[in-house]
Chain length 349, copies 2
């Protein structure tokens, strides 16, 4: 039996939702990850200090580790510590507000308006003058900017068309750390070399699938996501930088749960649910390419370096023992539902 | 109230299926069309004279017009006559067989193996030598060849990649009438000018939607079809030749019913069901562009000229009276389910 140990795995892009869904999915991420960057696209979105604190508290409650003291958000008695790295939904914010909220947030997440689930309150035009005060304050306060980078163009072109926005922001705010979230194209990979302050997260599913898997045979609603999976040459480009653990790329699952009836429906919601199977599938993938030694950097070390963070200790040992993915977690159908992966989690310390 | 009358509308590409589904959908096509080219991809496919005759008989039974005499397939007492133009599933056939079946069939339909619903028995390689005897016999007997033109490549490229097969067949068999079925790309439109013996059918849905409508917002399983809807510039090219009723293009709905549970499912079957709403939607579309005068050629006259056929008389009068599309026909969800079209059928004579 082959084993592989990962230290402090991090999911740098995660949707935990709220309510019953939060209770279902939060423990699944907390089991195998040290921490995760939690997306703010709730209804309504997370836009105030109180929103951030209340959401973080709901996450801890869902994990069975309620906060003992409201003044110390990070205190917990649970050994299986999981750190939700909170984000604020981008709006034009005053510097004073950002200073006040600085210690409660990990980053600000920007959505173009209407581009994905619950993003209606996002940015409707990339007007540099309108954004400048906010982005200058974020630069000064060292608050990273995470971006869902898509235009409202033709679905296969949306990410590539967004590259000039990345260029505009990266060149105008050279001290702002900008993360191209869940990149899906060779165009985005190529951008990594262009600007020192541009980074990227990559999901599991975009390393594995193309549009062929979503709509090339039967149509697979559980593989439908935003941004949509692209062309084979795009997947190849993502795979190349992930497998070599390019120092500017990090794993971010973009695990996005929806109840089964919202996926297998007349209008299917976007999102692939991968949190509980991601490390197993990544081990299998990296092992297939003989690159297991790079997985630690992809799922943790790169993020630690890029963001300058020190996650709580967690050691996840996997082995090449087959793991049959459950048909559902609660009411959510995961990627690979009912299929068998080559790797499973042996132990978590 | 504006009205528009269509004479002998023809659907040059139609899936009627079998069994209960046939009983549901056949009368819907028969109500507004004079006739339709009926696809042979049943399970098992239609490959013998007996298959053709038996299927045609089941169609008439489903229409409530059973054949009175097995020797005269075309005899019927029903005034609402609908002619099912039967096709044979392409295999390498002997000339003797084709001669024998000639009077029972309208055309031979070729599917690359595995390319769409029930096409497993199709052609697995386009080997000219292997195909030559069949295609020469078809040429000599003036049996048209209808082709589902897709490779097994990346889903957005499959039709464009197939163009060299069309070129090979069109140039090697100049007397064979070849129809590029349900074309979806500018590449296929451009081929129309290249070879005198190449024609095309165009569906309603490919005139109206792109991949954006299938997977650009929520994912819409009822708009998922093979070939998949392509890019905006492809739709524009199709629209241009349809609206001008280019003499080499014909309307073929490719209306392809599946029960609702096979569409709104984990693996959604390909096909858009348009037969009962096609003429209304085409009137609305052609009217919007001020091209109503060309619709007669697109839905009937071009097909009559290309194939040299004289359909039974049927006169369908439509008016610009709103028509709310039913949520379902039987267990099949149509395109525009629950939506209101600008045109409706007033009368059929």
């Amino acid at each position: 039996m082959k084993t592989h140990t990962l230290l402090m795995p991090l999911d740098m892009h995660l949707h935990l939702r709220d309510g019953v869904m939060l209770e279902t999915v939060a423990p699944l991420s907390a089991y195998s990850f040290s921490g995760a960057v939690v997306m703010p696209n709730l209804v309504p979105p997370v836009t105030t200090k109180e929103d951030v604190q209340a959401y973080k508290e709901r996450i801890f409650t869902a994990l069975g580790t309620p906060l003992s003291d409201e003044d110390d958000l990070f205190e917990t008695t649970n050994a299986d510590y999981f750190e939700p790295m909170m984000t604020l939904f981008y709006q034009h914010y005053e510097r004073d507000f950002l200073e006040e909220v600085r210690d409660d947030i990990f980053a600000v997440k920007l959505y173009p308006a209407g581009i994905t689930t619950n993003s209606e309150g996002g940015v409707s035009s990339f007007d540099l003058d309108a954004m400048r005060p906010t982005l200058e304050a974020m630069s000064a306060l060292e608050i990273p900017l995470l971006i869902h980078g898509e235009t409202d163009g033709f679905v296969m072109d949306r990410e590539a068309e967004f590259m000039n926005v990345y260029e505009m922001l990266a060149s105008n705010f050279p001290d702002l750390k900008i993360v191209m979230e869940h990149i899906t194209t060779k165009a985005a990979v190529d951008m990594l070399e262009q600007y020192p302050n541009l980074y990227a997260t990559i999901t599991l599913h975009h390393l594995l699938i193309t549009l062929d898997d979503v709509a090339g045979g039967l149509m697979r609603p559980h593989l439908f996501c935003k941004p949509i999976a692209k062309r084979p040459e795009d997947r190849e480009a993502l795979l190349e930088v992930a497998l070599e653990a390019h120092p500017k790329v990090m794993f971010g699952s973009d695990s996005a749960p929806h109840p089964q009836h919202k996926k297998e429906a007349c209008g299917c919601a976007a999102g692939v649910f991968t949190a509980p199977i991601a490390l197993q599938a990544l081990c299998e993938l990296f092992d297939q390419y003989g690159k297991l030694e790079n997985l630690q950097a992809f799922v943790s070390d790169n993020a630690q370096s890029i963001y300058g963070i020190c996650p709580e200790f967690k050691e996840v040992t996997l082995s090449d023992t087959p793991f049959t993915v459950p048909a559902k977690y609660g009411d959510v159908v995961p990627m690979f539902a009912g299929e068998t992966l080559g790797w499973s989690i042996e132990d978590v310390l």
